[in-house]
């Protein structure tokens, strides 16, 4: 009967209860939209990083990160061919590509920058990554020529480079000696990640070999059939490697993508926390008013023998019920509108340049993240629980004599 009383009490002040329940629903709704949007944005950034540049995993020499890059090669060319055969035989692997990776400097007439020089096998790269789809000027090593170089749009801007501009690359050769070679810009690319574009230039492996003397293969990019359980697949891959080689998953290769996930999780908790705080005050206010209005009635209940525990329980149940009504409405609204937007997408073309810095496309497709439904449900009920404490204490402090006498 306590539930019955609590439930009916909620509907005594219909407008007020509607407002509180409505604000709970709207708060949750907003929270779910933000969650869906954030996950959509992050997943897209991840997918695009994997697709255009990084792959699902990469194989390097175990000293690749520690030693000067030029010496930490995987193996000689024929051994790499064998290695790639083994990798491609794994059931979850869809393909591989090999690369030369050198640390170096790029000098233009105007300025110089440290860059990573990627020596690629263009036909392979075209199959295994989508980089070729992101050319804004020139071509992806299609037109013939010598010492061709692809630079990112951002780097081109910084160095004042145009198509056909001449640049000088400085890097270490196989013996660790510094070498220089001049290149001509044959293409400008622009991925969704401007930071990547600023620090990576792509050269044809043949052109690098002319300076290096031999093909140096530092990296094998591995693509999986699907972007699921990538960490587990990466460790299976690692198990299949000969000694001296190391496998990194995309998360290890591009830790900033993982940081972005962590940052997002923190941000979402903050946003949800702020929403819950606002709801907390709304609910407390509502319940304090409800108790003030029912002062005499509550005093009467204490007078005739309702003990404090039961009175507390009654207020608590009443407060929780607000959450139990508002919560599901909010979750339903959030779910339906996220689903609707998953179909349409959110067009942010006007903010395109800013988003590119973040590695995100201009149309965002939000995602449904079921685990957050549970988190939100728990948060709302916890909020309602906390919100009930102050009003309940207030009710317990009522003096039945004064409450009955009134004044």
């Amino acid at each position: 009967m306590i539930f019955k009383v609590a439930w009916r009490n909620i509907w005594r002040a219909k407008v007020r209860s509607f407002i509180v329940i409505g604000s709970i629903a709207v708060g949750i709704w907003a929270g779910l939209l933000i969650i869906g949007f954030s996950f959509g944005m992050n997943n897209e950034r991840t997918a695009s990083a994997i697709g255009t540049t990084t792959g699902h995993a990469q194989i390097h020499h175990e000293d690749f990160d520690a030693e000067p890059l030029s010496t930490a090669v995987l193996a000689d060319s024929s051994a790499v061919v064998a290695l790639r055969k083994t990798v491609e035989a794994l059931p979850f692997v869809s393909g591989t590509a090999q690369r030369t990776v050198l640390g170096g400097m790029i000098n233009s007439a105007k300025s110089a920058r440290a860059v990573r020089i990627m020596g690629i096998w263009p036909e392979e790269e075209r199959i295994q990554t989508t980089l070729a789809d992101y050319m804004v000027e020139g071509d992806f090593f299609e037109a013939s020529g010598r010492n061709r170089l692809l630079v990112g749009e951002k780097l081109a801007k910084r160095l004042g480079l145009k198509l056909r501009s001449k640049v000088v690359l400085t890097f270490q050769d196989a013996e660790g000696n510094l070498s220089r070679a001049s290149f001509r810009i044959s293409g400008v690319y622009k991925t969704l990640n401007a930071t990547w574009d600023e620090f990576h230039v792509y050269a044809h492996h043949e052109d690098l070999e002319k300076t290096l003397g031999v093909p140096l293969i530092h990296e094998v990019l591995v693509r999986f059939e699907e972007t699921v359980d990538t960490e587990e697949k990466a460790s299976q891959l690692a198990a299949a490697m000969p000694a001296g080689l190391a496998v990194k998953s995309w998360k290890q290769v591009r830790p900033e993508l993982g940081f972005a996930d962590d940052m997002m999780a923190i941000m979402l908790v903050l946003v949800l926390g702020i929403i819950m705080m606002a709801l907390l005050f709304g609910i407390i206010n509502n319940m304090l008013m409800a108790i003030l209005e029912r002062r005499r009635e509550l005093g009467m209940l204490m007078a005739v023998g309702m003990n404090k525990r039961k009175l507390f329980l009654m207020i608590l149940v009443e407060t929780l019920m607000l959450g139990f009504v508002g919560g599901p409405i909010g979750i339903l609204l959030g779910d339906l509108s996220t689903r609707a937007m998953m179909r349409i997408g959110i067009d942010l073309s006007s903010k395109q340049d800013g988003l590119a810095e973040l590695g995100v496309q201009s149309v965002i497709y939000p995602e449904i993240v079921p685990s957050y439904y549970l988190i939100i449900a728990v948060m709302v009920l916890t909020t309602a629980l906390i919100a009930s404490i102050l009003p309940a204490i207030k009710a317990l402090k009522l003096n039945p004599v004064e409450a009955i006498r009134g004044s």
């Binding site: 009967m1 005499r296 009635e297 007078a303 005739v304 023998g305 039961k310 004599v401």
Partner: protein, 226 residues
Amino acid sequence: MSKPVIEVKNLEKVYEGAVPVKAVNGISLTITQGEFTALKGPSGCGKTTLLNMLGGLDQPTSGSIAIGGVDITTLSENALIDFRLRNIGFVFQAYNLIPVLSAQENVSFIMLLQNRPKEEREARARQLLEAVGLEGKEDKRPGQLSGGQQQRVAVARALASKPQFVLADEPTANLDSQSTANLLDIMERLNKEEGMTFVFATHDDRVIKKARRIISIEDGKVLSDD
């Protein structure tokens, strides 16, 4: 000789303030089983204060109150709430009922607080509502009942907990004479047939006329008792 239900000795209540008010100033009295007693006196003489102390709603400044042999002035707050629930029935001037519950549910509620089984609650609530002449009104909420009917529900509620006695503070103050007569008849009948003890605080002559014992109070003291 009936046994005493309430025994009050040298009861005093002082309301502290800029000017301390001695609302009850040395009252001793005994109420025995089956009485139908009115406390009367001018406004401000201390009737409500005395009644509230008898009901364990207010603590005296000094003196003792024994109910069924238990000195309630020594009980803790929680023990007192439980004592009220099991031993005392209350009828107030107003705000007796929970507005969101039906008459039947209002009467049941107090038995729920006593953890009585559901069948007993329902049967007893029905029987008591019938006894106060509210047959057919069981499902009406207080707002759908007249003032007199609401007070009758309050009487049924007061009896539902099987108390040792019922305290009623100005139960007829808001009622017309027809409803007053009706309510008094019911309480008189319950007193006679069931031996329920009633103590009223009132200045309503209609109540005083029905009372078998009238205690006059003035300035917190008993002026006469007969």
